[in-house]
Symmetry: C2
Subunit: 376 residues, 2 copies
């Protein structure tokens, strides 16, 4: 195995493969990256217990003198390529035991790990893709993933439910205190599916597709889902179990609906939450929202030790209903508002001890729901 | 106590006082900031076990309706002023128990702490100052403070020794494995002094004077030193004890002297140190430097588990002496090179098991010294 390549091209591809490396793992072999050097391309593979990534490098700067396959510790390999100060790097296998990396005046020798120990990664067959706009997928993740559970008490809640029916994709996340739900239309038909994707996998996927503007192809089987885009395969395991039916939680009638400027409301909630008492079991800070008779909204909090905070927010339009006093976690509302692209949001209240719902003028088919807490 | 003021002016002053608040303290009262509101100015005071800060706020936007003194929890007060979205804030004392902060549509009430509990901070008398360029003081701190000890094994080494003699200021820091020494001329005479300033105090001072271009006045007594600049008093305790005599550690003869481009050398050392073995007791990574017969320098490291790194560095001028092989901590050399402003550095070697010395073309009267480790 002997090849040379532009350093920047190699680094950019390695930084994607890196996202598939485990942060810690009981299987040391997974700290390795697999390189398969063919005559006119290189395949890089990485994997941890959740996700597997394969990057196909094909570039006019690649010059392969001898093909070959190796596995080597990803962390050091990537760090070396990141730090070398050269336009071009040469990489050669020596005696099947180590590789030599030459870049300008630097020379590194890295021991290999036995490629036969590297597990075979079973990427799904590339047939019958579901086509998806990458912008749409990024939006779905941004608008739902924050509402997944972080604790493993109910593992199924640590992922986002993706459900397909009649060309529509229904995405739901909940940690049982709040819920995010987004529905989108798809361009292609598919066989129906109902899967739960781990929130960490979606976080990593978001980082990789951040600058992508192409389409993404989805391939789904009952155990895993494969995202294919540009020269990258990104595959993640799915969570096992049945996702709870969340439809029945969403109230059907809302006596009070209040329109807000999103940034004004967010600023007020963030300021008031500075003095809100922490509920130690969930590390939540509880604030109160009161619709007053003069149709203004007062957001407030009280901490016995520190003091009080109060802020008046003027709704941006007509309010339906009147008279409301409700308490809830400032963090939940802040998380929700930050994930909206909308300039205006509408909060619909079903009652003082019933969940309330947030929608926005620019985030189509997106619904957030938050459970209030009882006021003493 | 009633006053109003531009929010930005108030915040900028508070961000300086904040640096005097303890991160944690056995004395809860020190979490408070003291405000003394006079007719045309406000004094803010904060203190932790090491440093005390007093900021004098005098500004045309300040409008005092009623003078007064209070103490209140600094963290919340500063966070509120940071977050409010208003051009102007009004602050008023109510019934001697709490203050009300009004800013645009926000209203905060903060409980006070008893001002009688706040300790009297004894700032030094402002007579016989030593005048110093703030740029020079920043440089001294940058070029020496990194070499102080971080462990408390020998407490005196956790500070920088400032010694005055004949209009000259001699500054030394060492953790007993490396040393930094800077000498400067002062503009004013002074009585002689020989003090040790804690490294953490110097870190905080650097942050505050970062954008300062004025002169700094120093006032010194045997227990503390006060820095006065613009509208700020910054006082720190001194370390007790006698600073060791470091002159005798510096070799007087150097058989080998090699000139380097600083950035090239730094890059090479950083890259080679990627594969250098960690010496677990000090978390140091040891690299080797070899002057070869062809007058090039080879920097290298070997890790049994991972591999080898080697880089050739071309000296930028004539080398005096020849034949050298020495091993040392990459971290020490990296720290040293980063603190130099110079483009060229000269490393003078006294022998393979003797300390070596780094000097630079632009850092006048600065000397760094590093102890090598024995090569097996």
């Amino acid at each position: 195995m002997i090849f040379s390549i532009d350093r920047d091209v190699l680094l950019n591809h390695l930084l994607i493969v890196q996202k598939g490396l485990p942060s810690k793992t009981p299987f040391p072999i997974l700290n390795a990256i697999k390189l398969e050097v063919e005559e006119d391309y290189i395949l890089f593979t990485s994997s941890n217990s959740d996700i597997s990534i394969q990057v196909h490098l094909e570039d006019k700067s690649l010059n392969v003198l001898q093909t070959g396959k190796i596995a080597l510790l990803g962390k050091y390999f990537i760090e070396i390529i990141r730090r070398v100060n050269a336009n071009r790097v040469e990489i050669a296998l020596v005696e099947d035991k180590l590789i030599v990396i030459k870049a300008d005046r630097s020379e590194f020798k890295l021991h290999l790990v036995d490629i036969d120990d590297y597990p075979a990664i079973d990427f799904l067959d590339l047939d019958e893709p579901i086509l998806m706009d990458s912008k749409m997928l990024k939006e779905i993740i941004k608008e739902t993933n924050f509402a997944t559970a972080s604790s493993e008490k109910r593992p199924i809640l640590t992922g986002v439910n993706f459900k397909y029916k009649d060309n529509g994709l229904y995405c739901v996340a909940t940690d049982s205190y709040r819920l995010a739900q987004k529905n989108v239309k798809l361009r292609t038909h598919s066989k129906s599916f109902d899967i739960v994707i781990p929130n960490k996998s979606l976080d990593e996927l978001t980082k990789i597709i951040d600058n992508l503007n192409d389409d993404i192809e989805l391939y789904i089987n009952p155990n895993k889902v494969l995202f294919k885009f540009s020269n990258i395969l990104f595959q993640t395991r799915l969570l096992e179990g049945t996702y709870p039916d969340t439809e029945r939680i969403i109230p059907s009638e809302y006596p009070v609906i209040i329109p807000f400027n999103k940034e004004e409301l967010l600023g007020a909630v963030e300021r008031v939450s500075l003095l809100s008492p922490r509920e130690s079991s969930h590390n939540l800070n509880i604030i109160k929202l009161q619709l007053k008779t003069d149709q203004t909204v007062e957001i407030s909090s009280t901490s016995n030790e520190i003091g009080d905070a109060m802020e008046e927010v003027i709704p941006t339009g007509d309010i339906s209903g009147n008279g409301l006093k409700i308490a809830f976690s400032a963090k939940y509302l802040i998380d929700s508002l930050k994930s909206f692209n909308s300039t205006e949001v509408y909060i619909s209240f079903a009652g003082e001890v019933r969940p309330f719902v947030i929608k926005g003028n620019l985030d189509q088919d997106l619904l957030h729901l938050i459970l209030p807490v009882r006021i003493d």
